[in-house]
Amino acid sequence: MAEQQDQAFQVKVGPAESPLTLTVHPAAGDLRPWDNDSRLRTVKGRHQRLEAPQKVTGSAKYTYDVSLPGMLWAKMVRAPIPAGRILRIDTSGAERLSGVKAVWTTDAKLVRFAGQDIAAVAAVSQEIAEDAARLVEVQVEATPFVTDLEEAMTPKAPLVYAEGQPPALAKAPRQGNVVGPLPPPTLGGARGGTRGDVEKGLAEAATIHEATYRLAVHTHAVLETHGVVAHWEGDRLTAYASTQGVFMVRAALAEAFDLDRKKVRVISEHMGGGFGSKLYPSAVGSAFAIVACRLARQTGAPVKLMLDRHEEQICTGNAPGAQMTVRIGATADGTLTAIHHRAYTEGGIGQSARTGGPAGSMYPECPNVKIEEHDVFTNAGPTCALRAPGHPQGAFALECAMDELAHRLGIDPLEFRRKNDAHPFRKAYYDVGAKAIGWHRRNRVPGATPGPKKRGIGMAHGNWYVLFREAVAVEVRVHRDGSVELFHGAQDLGTGIRTALAAVAAEELGLRPADITVHVGDTQYPPGGTSGGSTTTNSSAPAARLAAHQARTRLAALVAPLLKAKPEELDFVGGRIAVTAEPTRTVSFREAAQKMPGEVIVCVADRKKQFEAVRQDLAATQFAEVEVDVETGVIRVLKMVGVHNCGTPINLLTAENQLVGGQIQGASWALYEHRTLDRNLGTMVNPNLEAYKILGPADMFEAVPILTEGTNAGNNTSATGMAEPVFVPTLAAIANAVFNATGVRLRELPMTPDRVLAALAAAGKGGSP
């Protein structure tokens, strides 16, 4: 069959204040994208989450809540020390304990981090499984280890991987535990990166700022720990998994057990938080899902294996700590001439995240940019994706450096950015954000507030990319009784994808989102992507729109004769189908459905190809107001304003919620979170939720979410992602506000009271070290 020609449409897109006309070329069969002029009835509304009634009453079933007849509980045993040779794993004691049904032990010979998989047991109760795990004896001959980033970079540091033995990493030079400089990343088409000549650019600068910024390792600390319930029926495997990708888990389990993928079903009906840590078949530092499936096959019983909080903190991934040196220069009038970003990030035993994205792409007008990124191995749990991998860290360094340079140039930091920023969306953000935070209230002279409680205001930018997956499909069923169901395999991480898909389908069908029953998170449904990198809405919603549109077309054809009109003359609105030119000539949606020849109309649509968009990157700007008590060193965030754009916000109620959530997680990193490893033992000191402190209700600030108007095109809904960019600028915005409050710069996160006091003392501004 000959390739069908793309279509061509002219659309009005971009910021509402400064729109532009763009010619887009969607694939044949796709729809004209919604644009700034589209009059939408349901999309862009505020819709209650469809699953909220289940979630607020405790009836929503998460993986942790799954219980099957005859189910066993499994529990894993983990390496107690960070490095060594495994001499012996003795499970005999565990096996003799009454109620224990099976054990598993690792084939690995070496331990590289405290928390590595060693053994597992399956028993008839959660308590007996825990007892049995304690009875497993592990003998490890300890070898030297290193857990500190800067110590790992020294020539004499113990090697996490012996020469010639690293895991498959990017082709990059390696010295000791340091790998790099790394080749440019491949993910995302808009990363800019190295260009021009940084030394020449710095020579042209009137003022140069250079500083090193550091931050700690952060854990995801998701509330529902990683876990799986494995259930074999013959050679068919069903796995209930707390995952960001049911199809990814299916592929991995099928491969591990040499099964046809169709024989594996993975279900994730509700999921208690992932933030990147559940982008793996099991977890980045554990193979627990495979182990659970093995134990289930061995015992012939369903097996439930949920990690406990301690395990969750040590082996399911983390965001890398980093040491980033930024050199940045500008002319006297504030024009950037060079950005040099050199980073060493802490990957644990795994590959780290790249922090150079913001430096490479935030200021594309800057002619001279150099990005040098390095991974550093340590004997600690491996890093994995965490909400905009590397970008909160990189933006912290870059945007603090921008603030410092602006201060030295004597230019308002906001004006300094405006001068160097060409992003059409972000240019529209400055005034709205400045007004919402009250930018004029900031200290002209940082630290000038009298008294011990000093207030200040700061801002920062962030970025991410328009990412999407195309191999995605949605099924819409309209039943004879007028009820509508939507099926899609992708999982809902808490972002509200059920409601977003319902809103898009409801827009086409003239219904309310609540009229549509949405089924997600199951590999039996049409394929959905793995949810990572802000991809789910912009991957799945366009397919939902197309499938619903097909159903609309079928219904229109059914009722057109009845209404004595042509199908294309009909409008679907308010639960009715009406003749557009004569709105009183209508039938109800239910009456129309009753005209169908069979019991159900089934429409399945693939997501069509991505087409032209205003931007391939996502802009973000946030403002923070803080209060710093210079006597105690305690920082409180008082207010945050986030100005963002996500193309068409499918559901404003949930999108704004997600925006504020990003600010909260960012503030939590900036002020509190710090994975602490014992220097002498190499084990985590705070593998819990009381000493690994995350921001709680008492720390909460006034949060102002602002989603600016403006569509982006690229797909038929003109929506983009949302989850990552809302988290990227927060750290620097808060750090810059602390500087404005105190006149003292903190270049290391988290900004705990001891560090605040030490910095104040060093600057001769009170406090004590």
């Binding site: 009634p53 607020v56 009836s59 509330l223 504020v660 939720l689 009381e690 209700p697 909460m700």
Partner: protein, 203 residues
């Protein structure tokens, strides 16, 4: 403590539980091991094997057969199928397992099921159903005071307890009332909105 082995999974303690209780005389600990109300030195020792415990949950009494070491949270989740209260930190740091204990919010992970005998337990399931939401639950839905929802049952129960004591809390009182609960998705401002909304409806 003596080592626990397969041959002797429950070795005698250096002190018997009875002497321990006599020596320390901790009311709360004793209350859990004896019949409700009685706090005598002749307390019956329960376990280590499973024992039947009558638990009054959401207005009805259910007898669970569990080892005395089983927490209230696990008795509810694994033995009564009430999985609304979540197992998250297992040490009272996050509040996701909050239930009402004679009307007071407690972390069910920090309490043994035996300690709940003779007391009224209300879980999130006992506050309302998807068809008949309680005022607090309805406010959570309206305000979108959740994302992934894993912390939500704990916040709903804690908010219910707060409003029962203080029907018109000011913003600082709301923060203080919910300070024992954590949300990782970052929905606090929406939760505060929901509490204010529910408070406003009480007239």
């Amino acid at each position: 403590m003596p080592k626990r082995t397969p041959e002797n999974p429950n070795p005698p303690l250096p002190l018997s539980r009875r002497t321990f209780l006599k020596t320390v005389g901790v009311g709360a600990a004793a209350a859990g091991l004896v019949a409700p109300g009685a706090r005598t030195a002749d307390a019956a020792v329960l376990g280590p094997d499973a024992v039947p415990l009558p638990l009054k949950v959401n207005g009805a009494t259910h007898t669970v057969v569990v080892e005395p070491r089983v927490t209230l949270l696990r008795a509810l989740r694994n033995h009564l199928g009430l999985t609304g209260a979540k197992e998250v930190c297992e040490r009272g740091a996050c509040g996701a397992c909050t239930v009402l204990f004679d009307g007071e919010p407690v972390c069910a992970c920090l309490m043994l099921a035996v300690d709940a005998v003779g007391h009224e337990i209300v879980t999130v399931e006992g506050l309302g159903t998807p068809e008949r939401l309680s005022p607090v639950q309805a406010a959570f839905v309206e305000c979108d005071a959740l994302q992934c929802g894993f912390c939500t049952p704990g916040f709903v129960v804690a908010s219910t307890a707060l409003l029962a004591k203080n029907p018109k809390p000011n913003p600082e009182e709301i923060k203080a009332g919910l300070a024992g609960n954590l949300c990782r998705c970052g929905t606090y401002s929406r939760i505060f909105d929901a509490v204010r909304t529910a408070a406003g409806r009480r007239g």
